[in-house]
C-alpha cells in the first residue's frame, strides 16, 4: 500500500499535514501515539490512521518502528512537521531507511512521479529547489498551514502494539516560564544589536518599546556574548522567528542569520550608522544615523503623534 505517512507531536500540525499530503492524490496514512488523538485526527480525513502503542512518552523513540512500517508497506514519503521532536524523529527515520531527506521545506509541489521541494540555505539568503523521485523523508514548518476538516469520510484505524526504543528515557519536564515573552505573537518588535554600547542603555530602548507598545528583542550577540537579554529574546535562524506588523532595529547590522528571523515582518525599519549594513537592504524604511541620537527623538515624536 504505497503512500504518504504523516506525523507530528503537535495535533494541529498533524491535522494540517494530512491536508498537505492529500494534495498528492496518494493514500495518506496518519501515525499517532495516542488513541484520543486518533479520534480527533480522523475528522481531517486521512485514508488510514495507525496508532503505535508502547511505553515511551518520547515520540523520537519510535523512529525505528516508523522506518520498519514504511519499509514493510513500501511507503513513498514520510512527512513530519518541523518541531524539535519532529525534526529528530524524521532525521533518525531517514537514517534507518537510508534514504534522502529535505528539511524545513517551504513548499512542496506534487507532480506525477516526483515532488519539487524548495528550502532555504545560508541563513535564508539562498533558495534551493530539489527533485525527490524516490523514497524520502521531508519536514515541513507547519505552524502556519491550515487544517481542513472533511465530512463523511471513511477512515480505517489500526492499533499496533510495538516496542519503542528504550534507550532514551524521560526524567523530567520543566514547563517554560509563565512570564516568557512570546515574540512570535508580538505585533510590534524593537530589536537591539551590537550597536548598543552599555547595558544601562537598555533603559532608552525600553522606553521606546513602551511608547510603541512593542516587545523587545535582540541579536544573538546581545543575548549570548553580552548576556544582556535572555536567550529567548534573540531573533534568528537558531532563535525566534517573528511576524509582527512592525519591526524596528537599532544598531543591528543584519547578518543573514538574523534577517531570516524577521523576513515575515510586514514593515521592517532600521536605524544604523553604517549605510552599507545588510539590514539597510533588508528594510522598508531606514535612517542612517546613531541610535543614541535617534531613539530620544523618536520617543518624543511618537509621544506627540
Amino acid at each position: 500500500m504505497p503512500g504518504i505517512y504523516v506525523y507530528s507531536d503537535n495535533m494541529k500540525q498533524a491535522a494540517a499535514l494530512i491536508g498537505l499530503a492529500a494534495q498528492s492524490g496518494k493514500e495518506v496514512c496518519c501515525i499517532t501515539l495516542d488513541s484520543n488523538q486518533a479520534n480527533e485526527l480522523k475528522q481531517y480525513g486521512p485514508d488510514r490512521i495507525i496508532i503505535l502503542n508502547s511505553h515511551s512518552p518520547l515520540p523520537e523513540n519510535y523512529a525505528g518502528i516508523i522506518a520498519e512500517l514504511i519499509k514493510k508497506e513500501q511507503g513513498e514519503l514520510f512527512l513530519a512537521a518541523s518541531t524539535v521532536r519532529g525534526r529528530e524523529l524524521a532525521a533518525k527515520t531517514a537514517g534507518y531507511l537510508d534514504c534522502g531527506m529535505v528539511s524545513d521545506a517551504e513548499s512542496l509541489v506534487f507532480e506525477d512521479e516526483r515532488i519539487i521541494s524548495s528550502r532555504l540555505m545560508y541563513g535564508g539568503s539562498v533558495v534551493q529547489k530539489a527533485v525527490i523521485s524516490q523514497l524520502a523523508v521531508v519536514t515541513v514548518p507547519a505552524d502556519n498551514l491550515e487544517a481542513v476538516k472533511k465530512e463523511n469520510v471513511q477512515v480505517s484505524i489500526v492499533s499496533l502494539e510495538v516496542q519503542a526504543d528504550p534507550r532514551v528515557r524521560l526524567i523530567e519536564t520543566l514547563a517554560g516560564k509563565k512570564d516568557k515573552i512570546d515574540l512570535a505573537a508580538a505585533e510590534k518588535v524593537v530589536c537591539v544589536g551590537m550597536g548598543l554600547d552599555k547595558q544601562e542603555d537598555m533603559k532608552m530602548v525600553e522606553e521606546l518599546a513602551q511608547v510603541l507598545g512593542a516587545e523587545i528583542a535582540c541579536t544573538r550577540g546581545i543575548a549570548e556574548e553580552r548576556q544582556w537579554l535572555p536567550v529567548e529574546s534573540y531573533i534568528g535562524i537558531s532563535g525566534a522567528k517573528i511576524k509582527p506588523s512592525l519591526y524596528i532595529s537599532m544598531g543591528v547590522s543584519g547578518q543573514v542569520q538574523h534577517v531570516v528571523g524577521i523576513r515575515d515582518s510586514k514593515i521592517i525599519t532600521a536605524v544604523d550608522t553604517n549605510e552599507k549594513a545588510p539590514i539597510i537592504r533588508a528594510a522598508d524604511y531606514s535612517i542612517i544615523g546613531d541610535m543614541y541620537e535617534i531613539i530620544p527623538l523618536l520617543i518624543e515624536e511618537l509621544k506627540n503623534a
Binding site: V84, G100, S125, R167, V168, I288, A305
Partner: protein, 258 residues
C-alpha cells in the same frame, strides 16, 4: 580511556557569498570556515573529556579544501583530528554525510559520545546527528543545552518549543547541541602552535568500506538562487536627525502601523 568525538563541517563562509545580477549565487571566492555551531560542539567535547578523563577528538567529512580545517579544529583543544577525504563531499546531502561519518566513527572505534551541532551554517538541515545515530544503531538526543555524565548514561537538558525536558540516554550516544550550551574561546597563539604538532588521520572512503555511489546525494538540486525579499528600501532623508525621525513616523502612519 575512551573517545568523545566532535563532528564538524568545513563550510563556505556565508559572509563571502556573492549574488550575481541574474540572482545566481557565486561561492567561488568564499573562504572556508568551521561551521559556527560546530565550534560549540568541539568545545563541548573538550569540556566533557576534561570531566571524564576521556580523549576529545574531531571528525570531518570534506573535500581536499577541508585539510585547512584540521589545524583550526585542533587549536580548539582536541587531541587528534580525523578527516574523511573525498571530492564527493562537495555534493553531499544529509544521507551521504551521515553515511561517511558513521563509517568513520566505526573505524575510529572506542567512543562513548558523539557530539554534533544541531545544524550547519550553510544548509542548517539538522539531519546529520540523528541520522548518524540511526546508522550506528545508538541513541540520539537533539536540541541539547546541557550535558552531564552519570554512570553509563548521558543526562541531557533539551530545549523544546514550550519548555525544557531532561532525558537520559544510554552510552554510547549521539547528542546534537544548540549554541547556548557554551561559549567557545578564541584559541590563543600557543594553542594554534600546538595544534600543528597534534596527530591527524586521513581516511579514503575505500578504507571505510564505502564506494563512491554510497555517497551520492539522494535528491537532485535543480535550482540554487538568491532569495529575493521585496522591500521598499527607502532611506529617509532630512537635514537633521529630527527631520529623518519625522519622516519615519510619517511613513509609518501612512502605512497604518502607528
Amino acid at each position: 580511556m575512551s573517545r568523545i568525538i566532535a563532528c564538524y563541517k568545513w563550510v563556505a563562509d556565508e559572509a563571502d557569498l556573492k549574488i550575481n545580477p541574474d540572482m545566481s549565487v557565486d561561492l567561488s571566492k568564499a573562504k572556508g570556515k568551521i561551521s559556527d555551531y560546530d565550534k560549540n560542539a568541539i568545545e563541548a567535547a573538550v569540556q566533557m573529556a576534561k570531566i571524564t578523563g576521556d580523549e576529545a577528538v574531531t571528525l570531518t567529512y570534506g573535500s581536499k579544501k577541508a585539510k585547512l580545517s584540521l589545524k583550526d579544529a585542533l587549536s580548539r583543544g582536541p587531541a587528534e583530528g580525523f578527516w574523511v577525504n573525498s571530492e564527493k563531499a562537495e555534493q553531499a546531502d544529509g544521507a551521504a554525510s551521515s553515511k561517511a561519518l558513521a563509517a568513520a566513527i566505526n573505524k575510529i572505534g572506542d567512543y562513548q559520545l558523539i557530539i554534533c551541532a544541531e545544524g550547519a551554517s550553510d544548509t542548517f538541515a539538522r539531519q546529520v546527528g540523528p541520522s548518524v545515530a540511526a546508522r550506528l544503531g545508538i541513541p540520539c538526543v537533539s536540541s541539547a543545552i546541557k550535558l552531564e555524565f552519570c554512570e553509563n548514561e548521558v543526562k541531557v537538558s533539551r530545549k523544546l518549543e514550550n519548555g525544557i525536558e531532561i532525558v537520559a540516554a544510554q552510552l554510547p550516544a549521539v547528542v546534537c547541541i544548540l549554541p547556548e550550551i557554551n561559549r567557545p574561546p578564541i584559541p590563543g597563539l600557543k594553542a594554534v602552535l600546538d595544534a600543528g604538532k597534534k596527530p591527524t588521520r586521513e581516511y579514503k572512503i575505500e578504507e571505510l568500506g564505502l564506494v563512491e555511489s554510497d555517497l551520492s546525494a539522494r535528491t537532485e538540486t535543480i535550482e540554487f538562487k538568491a532569495y529575493v525579499m521585496n522591500r521598499k528600501n527607502i532611506v529617509l532623508d532630512g537635514e537633521t536627525a529630527a527631520d529623518q525621525v519625522k519622516a519615519l513616523v510619517g511613513s509609518l502612519k501612512k502605512e497604518g502601523i502607528i
